[in-house]
Subunit: 200 residues, 6 copies
Amino acid sequence: TPETAERTAVPGVATGLAVTGAGGEVLFIEATAMEGEPGLTLTGQLGDVMKESAQIALSYLRSHGAELGIDAASLAKRRIHVHFPAGAVPKDGPSAGITMVTALASLASGRPVRPEVGMTGEVTLAGRVLPIGGVKQKLLAAHRAGLTEVIIPARNEPDLDDVPEAVREALTIHTLGDVADVLELALRPAQERAPALAAA
Amino acid sequence: TPETAERTAVPGVATGLAVTGAGGEVLFIEATAMEGEPGLTLTGQLGDVMKESAQIALSYLRSHGAELGIDAASLAKRRIHVHFPAGAVPKDGPSAGITMVTALASLASGRPVRPEVGMTGEVTLAGRVLPIGGVKQKLLAAHRAGLTEVIIPARNEPDLDDVPEAVREALTIHTLGDVADVLELALRPAQERAPALAAA
Amino acid sequence: TPETAERTAVPGVATGLAVTGAGGEVLFIEATAMEGEPGLTLTGQLGDVMKESAQIALSYLRSHGAELGIDAASLAKRRIHVHFPAGAVPKDGPSAGITMVTALASLASGRPVRPEVGMTGEVTLAGRVLPIGGVKQKLLAAHRAGLTEVIIPARNEPDLDDVPEAVREALTIHTLGDVADVLELALRPAQERAPALAAA
Amino acid sequence: TPETAERTAVPGVATGLAVTGAGGEVLFIEATAMEGEPGLTLTGQLGDVMKESAQIALSYLRSHGAELGIDAASLAKRRIHVHFPAGAVPKDGPSAGITMVTALASLASGRPVRPEVGMTGEVTLAGRVLPIGGVKQKLLAAHRAGLTEVIIPARNEPDLDDVPEAVREALTIHTLGDVADVLELALRPAQERAPALAAA
Amino acid sequence: TPETAERTAVPGVATGLAVTGAGGEVLFIEATAMEGEPGLTLTGQLGDVMKESAQIALSYLRSHGAELGIDAASLAKRRIHVHFPAGAVPKDGPSAGITMVTALASLASGRPVRPEVGMTGEVTLAGRVLPIGGVKQKLLAAHRAGLTEVIIPARNEPDLDDVPEAVREALTIHTLGDVADVLELALRPAQERAPALAAA
Amino acid sequence: TPETAERTAVPGVATGLAVTGAGGEVLFIEATAMEGEPGLTLTGQLGDVMKESAQIALSYLRSHGAELGIDAASLAKRRIHVHFPAGAVPKDGPSAGITMVTALASLASGRPVRPEVGMTGEVTLAGRVLPIGGVKQKLLAAHRAGLTEVIIPARNEPDLDDVPEAVREALTIHTLGDVADVLELALRPAQERAPALAAA
Ligand SMILES: [Ca+2]
Ligand SMILES: [Ca+2]
Ligand SMILES: [Ca+2]
Ligand SMILES: [Ca+2]
Ligand SMILES: [Ca+2]
Ligand SMILES: [Ca+2]
Ligand SMILES: [Ca+2]
Ligand SMILES: [Ca+2]
Ligand SMILES: [Ca+2]
Ligand SMILES: [Ca+2]
Ligand SMILES: [Ca+2]
Ligand SMILES: [Ca+2]
């Protein structure tokens, strides 16, 4: 969609799928890096579980950067700021884990996220993708927003039964168990990459 | 107006539009920079959302300074203090986001803010201008205070229907979606600039 | 008065005017500087607004020292301690702002505060003097305590109507809008100065 | 089991036994190390007792590394992150103590944890294994999950009476009082080790 | 008294007078200094006002050491620990101010406190002694404990009317307004001094 | 007893006497030291009074090490971790003061604590031993646990009347007022010492 394309045009922005009181929703997670004291600044009225999730995403990339072909030093030596718009809406839960890993990997590699892809899934420190809730609402929201590909946790495959067939047909649905596979799928190929974030 | 002209005569002060219990209001956001441990000091009894908003404004400028022609290092290497008078009145919400970006960009560039301009809008880390509430009251207040130009988020354009025609005529109203456009419009041209804040 | 003269004999002490449950009151704000980690130590059971007020006072002087002829480095490189006696009485509000600026400027310049002057007024980061409450009680207290000159915010001038004529006559009342004018009036001339606080 | 084998294939992951409202459960504690300010990052919604337990585990290894043949400097000079999936489930209690020691010792030595082993037990700073609750449910869960060996505290031996005989027969049950014996039993032999975590 | 003599035999211990639910009481404030990060460690279940009082006492000595003949650097460069036994009894209020100044000055100068002297009084950052409550009970307690000299604030002189004549006669009562006079009176002369605390 | 002998075999472990809801109890305080940022890590769900007690114990040794023949630098330059098993049981009060001093002195000197000795008593910063409660239950517990010597505060001597004569006969009871005497009695002689903790 135009909005998704515009929002994800720069490295560091990934498209997540969330559930709110008003049903499923597409949200854009923004990450940036600055010179300064290394560490993580988190904004967007995040709850404790979501803050921990961001730490897990960053630690995963910092300790697995080499095998993923990502320059982890560019994340380790800078101040990283991750923001979840809109700023006044409280948010919580672990299900944005893989979206945060993707936003941060995009930032570190300079490879933008593919604009047609939305995703949801908890991530562990070792890179496992754990199941989350709200699959049906999230896929309906992805479809409504014009996304054409979604990534969900492997262990959520049974939940696809509840998704209307028209939506399942319209979307390419990836069920993944390893966050390394999420990155391979969601980031644009390296040859399309924007100038990578230089290490400090 | 005389007050606005006087308040915004020095770089680092921008004119915001807010809504309080008593209707719309014009407020002056003041920013200054000092030698010392880099970071952000915030005063004016700000709530959590507004504090996060200030961090977003600063991170946006620090990571986009180059493309905006702003010396971001002057913000990164100093202690930045942002104050919202009056000091005893609690304030919150994300809608001062673009005003804080403007005040900080003015401080870093040495270009004062144009005194006839007031503004309101949430900002994201990637520089998007998100919609806010209270457009009608804010424009009435801007008009009452003698401002002649206002900046509101592009996605608030529909709210202009509720603004009395006399006010809409009297004001030049800019509906913007990218904070870079806000800065271009609100800061005085570089040739009029005061001595820029030297980098530490 | 003897007490005021004794208390303000050394640089770093300024005479403020406050309102408590028991009416107006004269209080002495004490500031001192020490070698050590730069920053601000505040004592006297201060509330949040008053603590922010002290930060504003210090930031104002640090960023405007040059134009005021004050050695701001002596404030920036030391640990500054500001105390509001008596220590067990909770205090809050922004109205001691200009008194704190005066005490700190006295400390940094080595110029004692004129003992016959009491003052009240909120200060902003850019040095504006904003209006406060309790003008009548404060001036009565100043008069009772033997002070002969008081400084109040320009925008509080209308409140002078409520002050008994005998008190207005007895006092020289200055209504000021810029804290630079407060300092010019309240500090003893430089030639009378005590040895200035040497920069670290 | 396949899941246990997969989860514990890399050094730094150990299999714990816990009791929740829904009975016994197998959980995987993940530890990783990064360049950065030394210290401990803990995620997984841990309660105070469990956080202290992690500090005890780390201090035990740092002060006993030499006698255990573990390179404690690799733990002392890095930022250590320990995560307990799933991220949104609150967890507390001291009974994961020996599992954390095992995960951290695995990380520091590069020796993966034997995938067939699950464990539970409080640890003290001096390396004693103290008794815990829920032995019956924990052993039932271990059996259900396909584990074939479990480690419990020596002082919990009497609780084995309550465990169904079929489960006791199917499992090799080790009752230990010293955490050094836990490590000897749970870590794969050094000759099978993955590349050890190099000291910083 | 034997206890007072024993407690105050080393530099850094001063005898205070307090009021508790059970009447007046003599207490011994202990101060010591260690190599380490400069700053103040306070123990004895102190309330906020008493903690601030300790900061005031330390800042007073650090900024007035030269004129008092006290080596303030020995306080500024070390970690100072002040303890109020007994450790489990909550304590608060500003009235131990001059006792803390005395204990710290004794520590810094190596001059023990005279064992026959007890004291009470609030101190300000500029060294003024402010009035406190409970004079009668405090003097009764001093007398009961065998002290023969007490120091109280000058502005508490009127409270001596309430003290039984026998107690007033038995005690030498000093009413002082400047903490420099307290130190001159309470510390043993320099020629009797123990080895001074060497500056770091 | 076998347990006491085993627990106190290494330097850094001392045997305390406590009172819980279930009567008196013997507990083992464990201390260890690591390279790292100097300071105190406390675990075992300690309350505020007990945490302060640990700071007092450490400060006492750091400032009196020379006269006690203990290498205080080995405590000052390392991270000290003190743990009170069992980890999930909340503990508070000042009465473990002398036990903590003993554990830390044992750690610093390499002299193990004599396994037959249990102790209880508050300690002050200057090394005084102050009285505590629960003498009867604590001595009964010491006796039950097979200890043969106990140390209690001098000022608790009157409480011995309440201890059954058989217990008093079986135990050697030391009533001490100075923590230096506690150390002399409780630590094994230097010639039996384990390798001392080398200073960093
Ligand atoms: Ca969720
Ligand atoms: Ca499909
Ligand atoms: Ca708003
Ligand atoms: Ca118009
Ligand atoms: Ca007049
Ligand atoms: Ca448990
Ligand atoms: Ca049993
Ligand atoms: Ca078996
Ligand atoms: Ca008091
Ligand atoms: Ca007398
Ligand atoms: Ca107790
Ligand atoms: Ca006996």
